[in-house]
Symmetry: C2
Subunit: 339 residues, 2 copies
C-alpha cells in the first residue's frame, strides 16, 4: 500500500518549495520552463493527482451533489437517477446517493449527515413519510445553511426552491379522457400512491376529466390499495357485476396486477376492458398484452433537475427559483382501443 504522492514529496525531490511545484503543475508563468518541465514530467510519471479533499477545503466547494430518492427500484426514479448521473458527470460533478425507503426518519438523518460539508447541494424527491408528516424543516434548514435544493416529482409548496415536476394532473386528465373517448364509461381508478402529492394530483385530473365529459363521479370506483393487497379479492366485486369497462392505474405496479386478474377472469383486453397505467418502465412494454401508459419521461426529469442545480451552483449571483413542468405523454399500446 503505497503512500499517495503529494506536492511535498515532489518538492523534496527537486529541493524546491511546494509553491514552486504547485505553480509548475498549474503552468504558472512565474516558473522557468526548465523547472516546470522536469517537475511536470516527474508528476506525470508518478501519477500525481491533486488531493480533492484539500481542494474542497480550500475552495469550499466539493463538486458533489446529493441525490435523495425514495426507492431506486421504482423505474421512474431509476430513470431520473440515470438522467442526473449523466448531466452531473458531463459537468464534472460527482454524485452521493441515498435511498429513504419512504421513511421520514431516514430522510432527515441522511440529510443531517450530508449537511456536513461533503456536498454542494441536494436533489430530492420526498419520501412518503415526509409527505404524510408535512415537516420540511430539514429541507429549509439545508437551504438556510447555503445548500441549494432541487425537488423533483414529489414536491411541496412549503419549501421555496427549484422544482421539476410532471404535469400529473394533466396526465391523468389526458389518460381518463382517452378512455372516455374510446367509449369507456365506468372507469375504475386504482392507486397505491394516494398518500403522496403525485397521487393526489392524478386523482384530481381523473375527476376533472370525468366532470368535463359529463360523467358522474362514482366514489366506489376509486380504489386506494396497498402494496400487499390481493388484487383478486379487491377486484372481485367489480368483476362479478361487470361494473367497470376501464382501469386507470396511478402507479407502476397496480395496472399490471389488475391486468393479471382481468385476464384470469377471461376478460378480453381491450375489447371488454381498457387499461392505462402510469410510469413507463420495462414492465408495460414486455407484458402481454402490452400496456398503454403515461410516460413521465423520467430521464428527462432527472436531466432537467440536475441542470437546474448545477446552474445555480456554477452561477455567482442569486437566481430566482423556478418550477419546470415536464409534460407527460400517452404511449398507446395494446390495452386501449385505437381512437
Amino acid at each position: 500500500m503505497k503512500q499517495r504522492i503529494t506536492l511535498k514529496h515532489i518538492a523534496k525531490i527537486f529541493d524546491v518549495s511546494i509553491a514552486t511545484v504547485s505553480k509548475s503543475l498549474n503552468d504558472s508563468h512565474e516558473i522557468s520552463t526548465e523547472t516546470k518541465e522536469k517537475i511536470r514530467a516527474y508528476a506525470k510519471e508518478h501519477h500525481y493527482k491533486p488531493n480533492s479533499i484539500a481542494l474542497s477545503l480550500l475552495n469550499k466547494k466539493t463538486k458533489t451533489i446529493g441525490i435523495i430518492i425514495p426507492n431506486i427500484l421504482n423505474s421512474f426514479f431509476a430513470k431520473a437517477f440515470v438522467g442526473m448521473e449523466k448531466v452531473a458527470s458531463e459537468n464534472g460533478f460527482s454524485i452521493i446517493s441515498c435511498m429513504t425507503n419512504e421513511s421520514y426518519e431516514k430522510e432527515v438523518n441522511i440529510m443531517e449527515l450530508l449537511k456536513n460539508g461533503t456536498l454542494d447541494g441536494f436533489i430530492i424527491s420526498l419520501s412518503e413519510g415526509t409527505q404524510l408528516k408535512q415537516d420540511f424543516s430539514h429541507l429549509s434548514n439545508a437551504i438556510n445553511e447555503g445548500l441549494p435544493i432541487v425537488m423533483f416529482d414529489r414536491v411541496t409548496n412549503s419549501v421555496e426552491c427549484d422544482k421539476v415536476i410532471v404535469d400529473d394532473m394533466q396526465g391523468a386528465y389526458h389518460a381518463t379522457e382517452h378512455l372516455i373517448k374510446s367509449g369507456c364509461k365506468n372507469i375504475a381508478l386504482i392507486s397505491e400512491i394516494h398518500k403522496v402529492s403525485v397521487g393526489k394530483l392524478r386523482l384530481k385530473g381523473y375527476k376533472k376529466a370525468l366532470n368535463d365529459n359529463g360523467i358522474e363521479l362514482d366514489d366506489s370506483l376509486i380504489l386506494n390499495v396497498h402494496k400487499k393487497d390481493d388484487f383478486n379479492k379487491l377486484l372481485n366485486p367489480y368483476i362479478k357485476d361487470n361494473k367497470i369497462d376501464a382501469v386507470l392505474s396511478l402507479d407502476e405496479n397496480s395496472a399490471i396486477k389488475a391486468q393479471r386478474v382481468l385476464l384470469e377472469n377471461n376478460y378480453k383486453i381491450p375489447e371488454d376492458i381498457s387499461i392505462i397505467g402510469f410510469t413507463n418502465g420495462k414492465l408495460p412494454r414486455f407484458v402481454t398484452p402490452s400496456l398503454t401508459t403515461m410516460s413521465q419521461h423520467g430521464r428527462n426529469v432527472g436531466e432537467v433537475a440536475a441542470k437546474m442545480l448545477i446552474n445555480r451552483l456554477n452561477s455567482e449571483d442569486d437566481i430566482d427559483y423556478t418550477t419546470k413542468v415536464i409534460k407527460t405523454s400517452l404511449i398507446e399500446r395494446e390495452t386501449t382501443k385505437r381512437l
Copy 2:
C-alpha cells in the same frame, strides 16, 4: 445564505481558543464543566456540525465508498446497489455512485477521477468494454494506490482483490438440467451477454448439463443476440420446424422477448415449450405466464460486497483476499412444467 458555523466562530464568541472549543465538543476532561457546558449549549443551538472535509483531510479517511456499475436500469445491479446502500448506511459510510454504460473509457475516467482522495475504496462490476479489452490497469493502479476494491458479478482473474460472484455455471447447469428432467431435449440458449464473463460461465454450465445428461450439443441452438435484434426473425427458423422445446435465456430481457414471440406463434407454454430466464426482477413475476427464473439474489450480493469492503477498511491489518460465491436458486413459475 448564511456562513456555516465553525470552531473559530465559537471560539471568538467565548474568547477562548479553538482548541478549547474542539475539546469541549468532544467532552474532553481537560476542560472545566462550566466552559464545556456553555460551549456545547451554544454549538447545539446554532447547529454546529464538524466539517467532514476537514476531518477527512486530517484522518485521511473519507468514510465514502465508490460504487461503479454498468447500468442501474438492470434489475440485478439495481438490487445489488440497494443491498450495498443498506449496509453502507448502517455502517456510517456514504456512497458515490457511477454508471459506466458498459464503456471501458467511462470506467477508466471515472475511476481516475475518484482516485483523487474522495474515496476509501471501490465496489465495481466490470463494464462490457473492459471485459472485451481485457485491460485492468486502472483497477490494479487503484489497489496499488491504497484503494481496496471489491469486484462483484462481472469479475476478472487478472486482478487480485476481494470478489463476490454468483455461481453462474452451477446456476445454468441447474436450469438446464431442470429443463431436461421435465422432458425437454432441444434446448435453445439465447444470450445478450455472451461477451461478458458471466455469460461465458453460464454457457459452460449449459454445455456441461447437456453432456452430463447424454444430450449432444447442437451449436445451431446457441443464439448470441443483440439488444436491438428482432426476435421474430431470430426465432422464426426454429419455430417453423418445431425445432426446440425449451428456451434458456441467460439475461434479463431475452427470455421475455422470446416468450412474446412464442405466444404470438400460438405455442402453449409450458406444454409445448418451456422457458427459463436469468435475473429475477419484477418482469418475470408480472408477465403472463409468469416466468421461471434463476434468482441471483442481487440484494444479497450487494450486501456481502459492501460488508467485505467495509470490513477491510475498518481493520488495521491486512486481510487475505477472498472470493465469496452466492448460490443461485431456481424460482419455479408458470413457464416450466412441474417435475
